[in-house]
Symmetry: C2
Subunit: 145 residues, 2 copies
DNA sequence: AAATATCCTACTAAACTTGTAGACTATTTA
DNA sequence: TAAATAGTCTACAAGTTTAGTAGGATATTT
Protein backbone atom coordinates (compact mmCIF):
# COMPACT_ATOMS: atom_id res chain seq x y z
CA UNK A 1 0.00 0.00 0.00
CA UNK A 2 1.12 3.50 -0.75
CA UNK A 3 1.67 5.75 2.23
CA UNK A 4 -0.66 8.67 2.85
CA UNK A 5 2.25 10.89 1.91
CA UNK A 6 2.45 9.39 -1.57
CA UNK A 7 -1.31 9.51 -2.00
CA UNK A 8 -1.30 13.17 -1.01
CA UNK A 9 1.56 13.85 -3.41
CA UNK A 10 -0.32 12.27 -6.30
CA UNK A 11 -3.50 14.14 -5.50
CA UNK A 12 -1.67 17.43 -5.26
CA UNK A 13 0.12 16.81 -8.54
CA UNK A 14 -3.15 15.80 -10.15
CA UNK A 15 -4.49 19.20 -9.14
CA UNK A 16 -1.40 21.09 -10.28
CA UNK A 17 -1.41 19.26 -13.61
CA UNK A 18 -4.88 20.58 -14.31
CA UNK A 19 -3.64 24.08 -13.55
CA UNK A 20 -0.49 23.81 -15.61
CA UNK A 21 0.50 27.10 -17.31
CA UNK A 22 -2.03 29.03 -15.29
CA UNK A 23 0.47 30.47 -12.81
CA UNK A 24 1.42 29.49 -9.25
CA UNK A 25 -1.11 27.78 -6.99
CA UNK A 26 -1.16 28.35 -3.22
CA UNK A 27 -0.39 25.46 -0.90
CA UNK A 28 -3.47 26.39 1.09
CA UNK A 29 -5.68 26.14 -1.96
CA UNK A 30 -4.40 22.66 -2.84
CA UNK A 31 -4.73 21.59 0.78
CA UNK A 32 -8.29 22.81 0.99
CA UNK A 33 -9.42 21.38 -2.33
CA UNK A 34 -7.74 18.03 -1.78
CA UNK A 35 -8.37 17.78 1.98
CA UNK A 36 -4.72 17.46 2.89
CA UNK A 37 -3.27 18.84 6.18
CA UNK A 38 -1.55 22.09 5.15
CA UNK A 39 1.71 21.67 7.04
CA UNK A 40 2.09 18.09 5.87
CA UNK A 41 1.49 19.16 2.30
CA UNK A 42 4.12 21.89 2.70
CA UNK A 43 6.76 19.24 3.38
CA UNK A 44 5.64 17.09 0.48
CA UNK A 45 5.62 19.90 -2.07
CA UNK A 46 9.01 21.07 -0.89
CA UNK A 47 10.40 17.60 -1.38
CA UNK A 48 8.95 17.49 -4.89
CA UNK A 49 10.48 20.87 -5.60
CA UNK A 50 13.91 19.77 -4.40
CA UNK A 51 13.55 16.78 -6.70
CA UNK A 52 12.84 19.06 -9.67
CA UNK A 53 9.26 17.99 -10.20
CA UNK A 54 7.85 21.29 -9.01
CA UNK A 55 8.97 24.87 -8.98
CA UNK A 56 7.75 27.69 -6.79
CA UNK A 57 7.51 31.41 -6.34
CA UNK A 58 7.56 33.21 -3.01
CA UNK A 59 5.63 36.23 -1.84
CA UNK A 60 2.33 37.60 -3.04
CA UNK A 61 1.16 35.95 -6.23
CA UNK A 62 3.44 33.04 -5.42
CA UNK A 63 2.76 29.34 -5.03
CA UNK A 64 3.69 26.03 -6.62
CA UNK A 65 3.55 24.90 -10.21
CA UNK A 66 4.82 22.01 -12.34
CA UNK A 67 8.35 22.51 -13.56
CA UNK A 68 7.59 20.75 -16.86
CA UNK A 69 4.51 19.89 -18.87
CA UNK A 70 2.41 17.17 -17.21
CA UNK A 71 3.26 14.50 -19.77
CA UNK A 72 6.98 14.90 -18.97
CA UNK A 73 6.71 13.48 -15.45
CA UNK A 74 6.04 9.76 -15.04
CA UNK A 75 4.28 8.37 -12.00
CA UNK A 76 7.22 6.05 -11.42
CA UNK A 77 9.48 9.06 -10.97
CA UNK A 78 7.13 10.67 -8.48
CA UNK A 79 6.72 7.47 -6.52
CA UNK A 80 10.45 6.86 -6.25
CA UNK A 81 10.84 10.32 -4.75
CA UNK A 82 8.13 10.19 -2.12
CA UNK A 83 7.63 6.48 -1.53
CA UNK A 84 11.01 4.98 -2.36
CA UNK A 85 11.43 1.63 -4.12
CA UNK A 86 8.71 0.33 -6.43
CA UNK A 87 10.00 -3.25 -6.41
CA UNK A 88 8.75 -5.60 -3.71
CA UNK A 89 12.18 -6.99 -2.80
CA UNK A 90 15.35 -4.97 -2.21
CA UNK A 91 17.42 -7.39 -4.30
CA UNK A 92 15.20 -6.72 -7.30
CA UNK A 93 14.99 -2.94 -7.15
CA UNK A 94 16.53 -0.93 -9.97
CA UNK A 95 17.00 2.35 -8.10
CA UNK A 96 17.24 1.16 -4.49
CA UNK A 97 19.06 -2.12 -4.89
CA UNK A 98 20.22 -3.87 -1.74
CA UNK A 99 21.54 -7.36 -1.42
CA UNK A 100 19.13 -9.61 0.45
CA UNK A 101 20.52 -10.90 3.71
CA UNK A 102 21.76 -14.46 3.21
CA UNK A 103 20.38 -14.61 -0.30
CA UNK A 104 22.53 -16.12 -2.98
CA UNK A 105 20.81 -14.27 -5.78
CA UNK A 106 21.92 -16.33 -8.73
CA UNK A 107 20.30 -19.41 -7.21
CA UNK A 108 17.47 -17.69 -5.33
CA UNK A 109 14.20 -19.36 -6.35
CA UNK A 110 12.12 -16.36 -5.31
CA UNK A 111 13.52 -13.23 -6.93
CA UNK A 112 12.59 -14.28 -10.47
CA UNK A 113 8.89 -13.86 -9.76
CA UNK A 114 9.43 -10.45 -8.23
CA UNK A 115 11.43 -9.29 -11.22
CA UNK A 116 8.35 -10.12 -13.26
CA UNK A 117 6.12 -8.23 -10.85
CA UNK A 118 8.47 -5.25 -10.95
CA UNK A 119 8.52 -5.16 -14.74
CA UNK A 120 4.77 -5.49 -15.01
CA UNK A 121 4.32 -2.66 -12.52
CA UNK A 122 6.89 -0.42 -14.19
CA UNK A 123 5.34 -0.95 -17.59
CA UNK A 124 2.34 0.94 -16.23
CA UNK A 125 4.00 3.45 -13.92
CA UNK A 126 6.77 4.49 -16.33
CA UNK A 127 4.33 5.07 -19.16
CA UNK A 128 1.66 6.92 -17.22
CA UNK A 129 2.33 10.58 -16.49
CA UNK A 130 0.79 13.46 -14.60
CA UNK A 131 -1.22 14.13 -17.73
CA UNK A 132 -2.98 10.80 -17.25
CA UNK A 133 -4.00 11.56 -13.67
CA UNK A 134 -4.87 15.17 -14.33
CA UNK A 135 -7.92 16.29 -12.47
CA UNK A 136 -10.92 16.93 -14.64
CA UNK A 137 -11.69 20.61 -14.89
CA UNK A 138 -15.10 21.89 -15.92
CA UNK A 139 -13.60 23.43 -19.04
CA UNK A 140 -12.10 20.11 -20.05
CA UNK A 141 -15.40 18.28 -20.07
CA UNK A 142 -17.04 18.16 -23.46
CA UNK A 143 -20.72 18.75 -22.79
CA UNK A 144 -21.54 18.60 -26.50
CA UNK A 145 -21.43 14.82 -26.49
CA UNK B 1 8.42 -3.47 -0.21
CA UNK B 2 7.43 -6.74 1.35
CA UNK B 3 7.89 -7.02 5.09
CA UNK B 4 10.52 -9.34 6.51
CA UNK B 5 7.65 -11.48 7.69
CA UNK B 6 6.40 -12.04 4.16
CA UNK B 7 9.91 -12.66 2.88
CA UNK B 8 10.43 -15.23 5.62
CA UNK B 9 7.09 -16.84 4.82
CA UNK B 10 7.99 -17.20 1.15
CA UNK B 11 11.41 -18.60 1.93
CA UNK B 12 9.97 -21.12 4.37
CA UNK B 13 7.32 -22.18 1.87
CA UNK B 14 9.95 -22.46 -0.83
CA UNK B 15 11.77 -24.89 1.43
CA UNK B 16 8.64 -26.84 2.34
CA UNK B 17 7.62 -27.06 -1.31
CA UNK B 18 10.87 -28.83 -2.11
CA UNK B 19 10.14 -31.28 0.69
CA UNK B 20 6.53 -31.90 -0.27
CA UNK B 21 5.40 -35.48 0.36
CA UNK B 22 8.50 -36.25 2.36
CA UNK B 23 6.88 -35.95 5.77
CA UNK B 24 6.85 -33.18 8.37
CA UNK B 25 9.76 -30.72 8.62
CA UNK B 26 10.87 -29.24 11.94
CA UNK B 27 10.51 -25.48 12.48
CA UNK B 28 14.06 -25.46 13.76
CA UNK B 29 15.35 -27.03 10.57
CA UNK B 30 13.62 -24.47 8.37
CA UNK B 31 14.83 -21.68 10.63
CA UNK B 32 18.40 -22.87 10.49
CA UNK B 33 18.49 -23.49 6.75
CA UNK B 34 16.76 -20.24 5.88
CA UNK B 35 18.36 -18.09 8.61
CA UNK B 36 15.07 -17.08 10.14
CA UNK B 37 14.66 -16.38 13.91
CA UNK B 38 12.98 -19.52 15.27
CA UNK B 39 10.33 -17.91 17.42
CA UNK B 40 9.39 -15.47 14.68
CA UNK B 41 9.08 -18.31 12.22
CA UNK B 42 6.87 -20.19 14.70
CA UNK B 43 4.33 -17.38 14.54
CA UNK B 44 4.46 -17.19 10.76
CA UNK B 45 4.00 -20.92 10.20
CA UNK B 46 1.16 -20.99 12.68
CA UNK B 47 -0.59 -18.21 10.79
CA UNK B 48 -0.13 -20.11 7.53
CA UNK B 49 -1.53 -23.20 9.17
CA UNK B 50 -4.58 -21.36 10.46
CA UNK B 51 -5.08 -20.09 6.92
CA UNK B 52 -5.03 -23.65 5.56
CA UNK B 53 -1.81 -23.33 3.61
CA UNK B 54 0.10 -25.60 5.94
CA UNK B 55 -0.70 -28.52 8.16
CA UNK B 56 1.28 -29.83 11.11
CA UNK B 57 1.93 -32.75 13.35
CA UNK B 58 2.91 -32.52 17.01
CA UNK B 59 5.33 -34.63 19.01
CA UNK B 60 8.28 -36.65 17.90
CA UNK B 61 8.41 -37.04 14.12
CA UNK B 62 6.22 -33.99 13.85
CA UNK B 63 6.66 -30.69 12.06
CA UNK B 64 5.11 -28.67 9.28
CA UNK B 65 4.19 -29.62 5.74
CA UNK B 66 2.17 -28.21 2.83
CA UNK B 67 -1.50 -29.01 3.06
CA UNK B 68 -1.78 -29.33 -0.72
CA UNK B 69 0.56 -29.90 -3.63
CA UNK B 70 2.82 -26.89 -4.29
CA UNK B 71 1.10 -25.94 -7.54
CA UNK B 72 -2.21 -25.55 -5.70
CA UNK B 73 -1.12 -22.51 -3.70
CA UNK B 74 -0.66 -19.21 -5.51
CA UNK B 75 1.75 -16.56 -4.28
CA UNK B 76 -1.10 -14.06 -4.26
CA UNK B 77 -2.92 -16.18 -1.69
CA UNK B 78 0.14 -16.40 0.53
CA UNK B 79 0.81 -12.70 0.31
CA UNK B 80 -2.74 -11.73 1.20
CA UNK B 81 -2.46 -13.83 4.33
CA UNK B 82 0.84 -12.56 5.65
CA UNK B 83 1.21 -9.15 4.03
CA UNK B 84 -2.38 -8.04 3.48
CA UNK B 85 -3.51 -6.12 0.39
CA UNK B 86 -1.64 -6.47 -2.88
CA UNK B 87 -3.17 -3.34 -4.43
CA UNK B 88 -1.42 -0.02 -3.84
CA UNK B 89 -4.57 1.89 -2.94
CA UNK B 90 -7.32 0.75 -0.56
CA UNK B 91 -10.07 1.85 -2.95
CA UNK B 92 -8.68 -0.48 -5.61
CA UNK B 93 -8.13 -3.60 -3.52
CA UNK B 94 -10.21 -6.68 -4.31
CA UNK B 95 -9.89 -8.41 -0.94
CA UNK B 96 -9.25 -5.47 1.40
CA UNK B 97 -11.39 -2.77 -0.18
CA UNK B 98 -11.77 0.46 1.72
CA UNK B 99 -13.24 3.68 0.49
CA UNK B 100 -10.59 6.39 0.14
CA UNK B 101 -11.17 9.30 2.48
CA UNK B 102 -12.76 12.15 0.54
CA UNK B 103 -12.38 10.31 -2.74
CA UNK B 104 -15.28 10.38 -5.14
CA UNK B 105 -14.27 7.19 -6.87
CA UNK B 106 -16.29 7.45 -10.02
CA UNK B 107 -14.56 10.70 -10.87
CA UNK B 108 -11.18 10.00 -9.22
CA UNK B 109 -8.46 10.60 -11.81
CA UNK B 110 -5.94 8.46 -9.95
CA UNK B 111 -7.47 5.07 -9.22
CA UNK B 112 -7.61 4.02 -12.88
CA UNK B 113 -3.84 3.75 -13.07
CA UNK B 114 -3.68 1.72 -9.88
CA UNK B 115 -6.30 -0.68 -11.12
CA UNK B 116 -3.95 -1.33 -14.04
CA UNK B 117 -1.01 -1.81 -11.68
CA UNK B 118 -3.06 -4.17 -9.56
CA UNK B 119 -4.14 -6.26 -12.53
CA UNK B 120 -0.62 -6.43 -13.94
CA UNK B 121 0.69 -7.54 -10.55
CA UNK B 122 -2.04 -10.09 -10.01
CA UNK B 123 -1.50 -11.58 -13.44
CA UNK B 124 1.89 -12.70 -12.13
CA UNK B 125 1.11 -13.46 -8.50
CA UNK B 126 -2.11 -15.38 -9.15
CA UNK B 127 -0.48 -17.58 -11.77
CA UNK B 128 2.75 -18.32 -9.93
CA UNK B 129 2.59 -20.95 -7.24
CA UNK B 130 4.80 -22.51 -4.61
CA UNK B 131 5.94 -24.91 -7.30
CA UNK B 132 7.50 -21.97 -9.14
CA UNK B 133 9.50 -20.81 -6.14
CA UNK B 134 10.43 -24.28 -4.99
CA UNK B 135 13.95 -24.46 -3.70
CA UNK B 136 16.29 -26.41 -5.95
CA UNK B 137 17.25 -29.72 -4.47
CA UNK B 138 20.32 -31.60 -5.57
CA UNK B 139 18.17 -34.41 -6.90
CA UNK B 140 16.18 -31.99 -9.06
CA UNK B 141 19.20 -30.68 -10.91
CA UNK B 142 19.81 -32.44 -14.20
CA UNK B 143 23.55 -32.85 -14.42
CA UNK B 144 23.29 -34.68 -17.74
CA UNK B 145 22.85 -31.43 -19.63
C1' DA C 1 8.32 48.52 6.34
C1' DA C 2 4.58 45.37 6.18
C1' DA C 3 2.39 41.65 4.24
C1' DT C 4 2.63 37.41 1.82
C1' DA C 5 4.11 32.86 0.96
C1' DT C 6 7.51 29.43 0.58
C1' DC C 7 11.70 27.15 3.07
C1' DC C 8 13.60 24.34 6.50
C1' DT C 9 14.58 21.86 10.76
C1' DA C 10 13.11 19.69 14.55
C1' DC C 11 9.80 17.56 17.28
C1' DT C 12 5.97 14.28 18.79
C1' DA C 13 2.26 10.73 19.10
C1' DA C 14 0.62 6.71 17.22
C1' DA C 15 1.08 2.74 14.57
C1' DC C 16 3.56 -0.98 12.74
C1' DT C 17 7.47 -4.15 12.45
C1' DT C 18 10.38 -7.42 14.24
C1' DG C 19 11.23 -9.86 17.19
C1' DT C 20 11.12 -12.50 22.35
C1' DA C 21 9.08 -15.03 26.50
C1' DG C 22 6.78 -18.40 28.56
C1' DA C 23 3.22 -21.31 29.60
C1' DC C 24 0.02 -24.82 27.36
C1' DT C 25 -1.44 -28.82 24.53
C1' DA C 26 -0.95 -32.92 21.79
C1' DT C 27 1.78 -36.95 20.45
C1' DT C 28 5.21 -40.42 20.71
C1' DT C 29 8.28 -43.51 23.03
C1' DA C 30 10.43 -45.92 26.87
C1' DT D 1 2.17 -43.70 32.65
C1' DA D 2 6.07 -40.53 32.82
C1' DA D 3 9.27 -38.09 30.02
C1' DA D 4 10.55 -36.10 25.96
C1' DT D 5 9.27 -33.91 21.81
C1' DA D 6 7.23 -30.42 19.03
C1' DG D 7 3.66 -27.41 17.75
C1' DT D 8 -0.03 -23.67 19.88
C1' DC D 9 -1.15 -19.39 21.64
C1' DT D 10 -1.06 -14.88 23.95
C1' DA D 11 1.26 -11.16 25.52
C1' DC D 12 4.93 -8.15 25.68
C1' DA D 13 8.83 -4.91 24.19
C1' DA D 14 12.29 -2.40 21.50
C1' DG D 15 12.99 -0.17 17.32
C1' DT D 16 11.43 2.04 13.23
C1' DT D 17 8.28 4.38 10.31
C1' DT D 18 4.32 7.25 9.48
C1' DA D 19 1.61 11.18 9.86
C1' DG D 20 1.29 15.35 11.34
C1' DT D 21 2.70 19.84 14.08
C1' DA D 22 5.50 23.99 15.47
C1' DG D 23 7.80 27.83 14.62
C1' DG D 24 11.16 30.62 12.96
C1' DA D 25 13.97 31.90 8.53
C1' DT D 26 14.04 33.59 3.92
C1' DA D 27 12.50 35.67 -0.31
C1' DT D 28 9.21 38.65 -2.87
C1' DT D 29 5.79 42.05 -3.60
C1' DT D 30 3.25 46.19 -2.44
Amino acid sequence: MLSKKTQYALRALSFLAARHDQGPVLITEIAEQKKIPVKFLENILLELKNADILDSKKGRGGGYFLKEAPHKTSLARVMRIVEGPIALLPCVSLYFYQKCADCTEDVCPINGVFIQVRDATLKVLESKTLEDIQEMTLEAIDFSI
